[in-house]
């Protein structure tokens, strides 16, 4: 049985929307202190719509995959959608995660929630990503 779903493999081998957005007006960073996984989202939100979005991530392959997947889900959508995503929904979008990978769904939900929270409170300087694990 493969360790990863085809969707997860697709995203960690061909990650979408890599990088930091120079024109970002909202940023969101989360890091898991236990496993060391980190995700940074930088977005340009215009009229409540995620007009552009980039991610950087350092961590296991599943965490890279969910970060990439998240950008494809949010791009062009209302920023409020980020607040509705929970770990179960993200796991569903991945096509399934093994028990030892499920923490990345929570990580992705956390960074999505932080994005919408930072947008609503006007925060645009969340912590930068560091590759140190």
């Amino acid at each position: 049985m493969p360790r990863f779903s085809p969707t997860v493999v697709d995203h960690f081998t061909n990650p979408r929307n890599i990088g930091q957005l120079a024109s970002a007006n909202v940023r969101a960073f989360v890091g898991n202190p236990v496993c060391g996984d980190q995700i940074l989202l930088t977005a340009h939100v215009s009229d409540g719509i995620v007009a552009d979005l980039r991610f950087q991530a350092f961590g296991c392959s599943a965490s890279l995959a969910v970060a990439s997947l998240l950008t494809t889900v949010l791009m062009g959508e209302s920023v409020n959608l980020a607040g509705t995503l929970d770990a179960d929904r993200i796991e569903e979008l991945t096509g399934g995660l093994a028990p030892d990978q499920r923490h990345v769904a929570a990580l992705a939900a956390d960074v999505a929630h932080r994005l919408v929270a930072n947008f609503r409170s006007g925060v645009s300087d969340d912590d930068p990503i560091s590759c140190a694990s």
């Binding site: 360790r3 990863f4 493999v9 960690f12 081998t13 990650p15 890599i18 990088g19 930091q20 496993c35 060391g36 980190q38 940074l40 991610f55 950087q56 991530a57 350092f58 961590g59 296991c60 392959s61 890279l64 990503i129 590759c131 140190a132 694990s133």
Partner: protein
């Protein structure tokens, strides 16, 4: 259930240090052995046929190990051979054991178990090069040192240890020597090792899993781990694993043929150079052992990446590599070998092991290099990690 055999042809297998593919000679011997159903201990013809095959197989393994057939004890693998060597030597007595911090967990866990039973254990650290300094072994020796256990080559870095010099020092001090040759048997000559005990594992050199051997040199004796029917001259009870033994013997014979072949060894060194040179173009690359090394095993760190993620990306492309040793796969703790060498935790977690073997071609190496360089570059872009020196 369908089991693919052999491995898919599009797979680039660079994890020979974990286990080598079964060689055709071993597969053939195992197939032939399926008809050999007699118990080698039985006196009837069926048993005698099995007994004859066992004798011949023991002889072939003895040639690889450079010893008399009577000195070969078949075991259930390398870890059992190591346990038999250490626990069997210290059975019923205490005294002092000297080993090193870069040993396989089979040795280190065995040493820890012996320590709990009252054996004094000294663990000698390696140099940053990945090698153990014989002078540090000499400094650890005591009048009550019973055994020195050191590996021939490290399973993670490939660093070849000065086992001959260590053996001389230990013998001069009146201590026995065990060499864990699991990573070298079939690659480097082990027949000339002067150690009293030598452990090997068949699946590392093209034999099947679940079978190994301990060379137990005369006149050393030890207490068996498994008591029973007196097989293996009372040193390891249990009806012999004939299929495993036949496969191991065929792989040993095949390996013996190729051991002294300069072309084979030169080809391995060329492949290593091709691999290391190819990987270096991505920058931020460090090879974790100096010469002498087993050319087939390359431990390499890539600044700014996580090794488990890189291994997953390569796996998705049909390229099999390992993070540290296979025994650490799935564990979060950094390699005890690398950290003992002074490698930082961050670098240890950025380390993959690529280990090639018989059948690996230059084209395989080139494809693995290209995929690895591309993957490292992409992973660094994903994390926003800039690495100086990349070309």
């Amino acid at each position: 259930m369908t089991i693919p055999f052999p491995a898919p042809p599009d797979l680039i297998y660079l994890d020979h240090a974990a286990t080598a593919p079964l060689c055709e000679a071993a597969a053939s011997a195992i197939r032939d052995g399926l008809r050999l159903y007699g118990n080698p201990s039985s006196r009837h013809d069926a048993g005698q046929s099995a007994h004859d095959a066992l004798v011949a197989a023991r002889g072939q393994v003895a040639v690889l190990l450079g010893c008399a057939p009577e000195e070969v004890v078949f075991t259930g693998g390398g870890s059992e051979a190591i346990n038999l060597a250490l626990q069997g030597t210290f059975a019923g007595r205490r005294g002092h054991l000297v080993t090193t911090a870069i040993e396989h967990s089979a040795v280190l866990e065995c040493a820890a178990a012996l320590s709990r039973r009252g054996v004094d254990v000294t663990v000698v650290g390696p140099e940053p090069s990945g090698h153990v300094d014989p002078a540090r072994i000499a400094a650890a020796l005591r009048p009550d040192t019973v055994l020195v256990s050191v590996m021939h080559a490290n399973n993670e870095t490939g660093a070849v240890q000065p086992v001959e010099e260590i053996t001389g020092l230990a013998h001069a001090a009146g201590a026995l020597v065990h060499v864990d040759a699991v990573q070298t048997a079939g690659k480097l000559p082990v027949a000339g090792l002067g150690a009293d005990l030598v452990s090997v594992s068949a699946h590392k050199f093209g034999g099947p899993k679940g079978i190994g051997a301990l060379r137990l040199s005369e006149p050393h004796t030890l207490e068996p781990l498994i008591h029973g029917g007196g097989q293996e001259s009372g040193r390891r009870a249990g009806t012999e694993n004939m299929l495993g033994i036949l496969g191991m013997a065929a792989a040993a014979a095949y390996a013996t043929e190729h051991l002294d072949n300069d072309l084979t060894r030169a080809a391995a060194r060329r492949l290593r150079k091709r691999l290391v040179d190819g990987l270096s173009v991505v920058g931020g690359v460090r090879v974790n052992a100096d010469d002498p090394v087993v050319p087939e095993t390359v431990s390499v760190s890539f600044d700014g990446i996580r090794a488990d993620t890189l291994a997953d990306v390569l796996d998705a492309q049909g390229i099999c590599v390992s993070t540290g040793s296979a025994c650490h796969a799935g564990q979060d703790s950094p390699s005890h070998v690398l950290t003992a060498m002074g490698v930082s935790v961050e670098q240890a977690k950025a380390t993959v092991r690529l280990s090639f073997g018989h059948g690996t071609t230059a084209a395989d190496i080139d494809a693995a290099v290209a995929a690895t360089v591309a993957a490292v570059d992409r992973l660094r872009r994903v994390s926003g990690t800039a690495v100086s020196g990349a070309s």
